[in-house]
């Protein structure tokens, strides 16, 4: 394990679960309420300055249903950290990282529309890849792939597969 990974693990030990290194990436499972503290420490103390990505995994029918996954990269150490947390469908809310990283704005919007995860503190969760008024969250496992919601209606007589 890289020395910086050891230091992160020691410094954040009370906040994180079973930390491990998988394929060269440090994986930190945390509880949702520790997010800002953990990511703040990663950014300020350990120089993980590049916010790469946020996405979610829908583990239907497991409970809690969603796993939200963040990736960070340090341009100094040239290493990556993955932070994950589980949230239930009923309160699929995590803190927004927009206060720490500008790039979180767009990526949280995408994760919000695709999975319905709410990022507390991100005031702008408008659709970005989908359109205004789109119903449902398409990357959830219970959203049928065939369902179509055309913004421009089809011609008369055309039957929409999986339509409402």
């Amino acid at each position: 394990m890289a020395p910086i990974f050891e230091r992160i693990r020691e410094a954040l030990a009370p906040k994180i679960g079973e930390a491990s290194v998988a394929h060269g990436v440090l994986v930190l499972p945390i509880s949702a309420d520790a997010l800002l503290e953990v990511v703040g420490a990663l950014k300020e103390h350990f120089r993980f300055d590049l916010f790469l990505d946020v996405t979610a995994v829908d583990w239907l029918p497991q409970e809690p249903r969603f796993e939200v996954v963040w990736h960070f990269y340090s341009t100094m150490h040239k290493l990556r950290v993955r932070v994950k947390t589980r949230v239930a469908e009923a309160e699929a809310v995590v803190d927004s990282l927009t206060g720490l990283y500008g790039s979180a704005h767009f990526m949280e919007r995408e994760c919000h529309e695709m999975y319905g995860i709410v990022f507390r503190g991100n005031a702008d969760l408008r659709p970005i890849l989908l359109y205004e008024g789109f119903k449902g969250h398409p990357l959830r496992k219970d959203y049928p792939k065939e369902r179509e919601q055309p913004l421009v209606p089809y011609r008369e007589g055309y039957e929409m597969p999986g339509g409402e």
């Binding site: 916010f51 790469l52 990505d53 341009t75 990283y101 500008g102 704005h105 408008r126």
Partner: protein, 408 residues
């Protein structure tokens, strides 16, 4: 037929902040139509005060579709992310699956993938620069560069069978080996490259009009670029040598010599120049890789692993084990061990990452693509605000947004 279409977007602002400013809607499309975007901008005369950038017009449910196909069947889909350098997408995706399966590719495939990735990078940068120059009226430079790009496309078609969407990567190897005489033609094209890119340098670099349009326009500081998630040529144009090929070497990049060109202040001119220099470095790399391929890269292209590589055709027709193996691989897909992985390659636009989740079957549970263009569009307003309306076109050209990977 009269039809009222609902507005697909809701602008972030609809009322001007001041009395003497106006809100204009630009797009979807135009900014010289590299990709379909929409910009809602508040302008004071010709100056942009704030901008709200929208993308998503090319969204086609890539990630959803991936969950319904076998690991192999996704290769044609990843081609269509960044269609200017589809091979880099292919190899990044295959690398991610191979990491999850614990497969180490053969030396020949390693060198070939590196070579073809650099070749694609040249094609991608040529497209970007050619289009950006054409939008500023430089038709000759455009024709020179696009001519080169087409030589490369045709040459890649010789090995892959397609001009644009190659589907050439395979999990554990490649679709086929190089045809006879391919490397000879490669050197011919590289010589032509040097000639014509030299002419473009002569036409453009010190051209007064070009400098006026590009220098000090859309400046980006390193801190800003990192904060907004910029990677690739845009981050390097701000003056820092951040390149995954150097920082976290993959494929054969640790074995070859190359420099990481950087800019001075992250303006449009720097982004143009960094791309031009990167192409030169790619040519330098390709020549080393041709030598490496001949010295150390002999042998098979596919790994000997029946979990992912199809058995030889004559065995499929002559023995039952191979027939079953072939059937299982095609119908059920390669069985990828459960787990998740994030693998990133330095694509022509920046960090292209694949986050894959497997539950142990022949179909991915989740495929997420960290597309550089999408992240770049999230910070694009930083490069537009404070500059002229007419600067949108060269700035957007220098970001090189690719709709396929941005909107997925």
């Amino acid at each position: 037929m009269e039809m009222k279409l609902p507005n697909p977007i809701r602008p972030a602002f609809t009322k001007p902040a001041r009395e003497d400013t106006t809100i204009v809607n630009i797009g979807p499309s135009h900014p010289a139509t590299h990709g379909t975007i929409q910009i809602v901008a508040e302008i004071d005369g010709e100056r942009i005060l704030r901008a709200d950038v929208h993308c998503g017009y090319l969204h086609r449910g890539f990630e959803k579709e991936c969950e319904a196909h076998t690991w192999h069947n996704l290769i044609p889909y990843v081609d269509r992310l960044n269609y200017c350098s589809a091979l880099i997408n292919n190899f990044a995706y295959c690398d991610a699956v191979e990491t999850l399966m614990g497969i180490e590719i053969t030396p020949r495939t390693k060198y070939l993938r590196t070579l073809l990735a650099e070749y694609s990078r040249i094609a991608d940068h040529l497209t970007c620069i050619a289009a950006a120059l054409m939008e500023l009226g430089a038709m000759t430079a455009f024709l020179y560069l696009v001519m080169l790009r087409d030589y490369i496309y045709e040459h890649l078609a010789d090995v892959t069978g397609a001009r644009l969407t190659y589907s050439y990567g395979r999990i554990g190897g490649l679709a086929r080996d190089l045809p006879e005489g391919w490397l000879t033609r490669l050197e011919e094209i590289l010589v032509q490259y040097e000639d014509f890119v030299g002419r473009v340098h002569g036409l453009v670099d010190r051209n007064r009009i070009f400098i006026d349009r590009m220098r000090n326009v859309a400046c980006l500081s390193t801190a800003d670029a990192v904060n907004w998630g910029y990677t690739g040529p845009i981050l390097r144009s701000t003056g820092v040598p951040r390149d995954l090929r150097k920082d976290t070497p993959y494929l054969a990049y640790a074995e070859i010599d190359f420099e990481v060109p950087t800019g001075i202040k992250g303006d449009n001119y720097d982004r143009y120049y960094v791309r031009m220099r990167e192409m030169d470095e790619s040519v330098h790399m390709i020549r080393q890789l041709v030598d490496l391929l001949q010295e150390k890269g002999q042998g098979p292209i596919n790994v000997d692993d029946r979990r992912c590589v199809l058995p030889p055709k004559h065995l499929v027709y002559s023995e039952i084990e191979s027939l079953i193996n072939h059937f299982k691989l095609v119908m059920e897909g390669p069985q990828v061990p459960a787990g998740d992985v994030y693998v990133a390659h330095e694509s022509a636009n920046g960090e292209l990452g694949f986050y894959l989740v497997s539950t142990g079957g022949g179909t991915p549970y989740k495929v997420h693509c960290r597309a550089p263009s999408f992240v770049h569009m999230g910070g694009a307003h930083r490069m537009l605000e404070g500059y002229q309306l007419a600067d949108i076109v060269p700035t957007f050209g220098s970001i090189n947004m690719i709709g396929g990977e941005c909107d997925r």
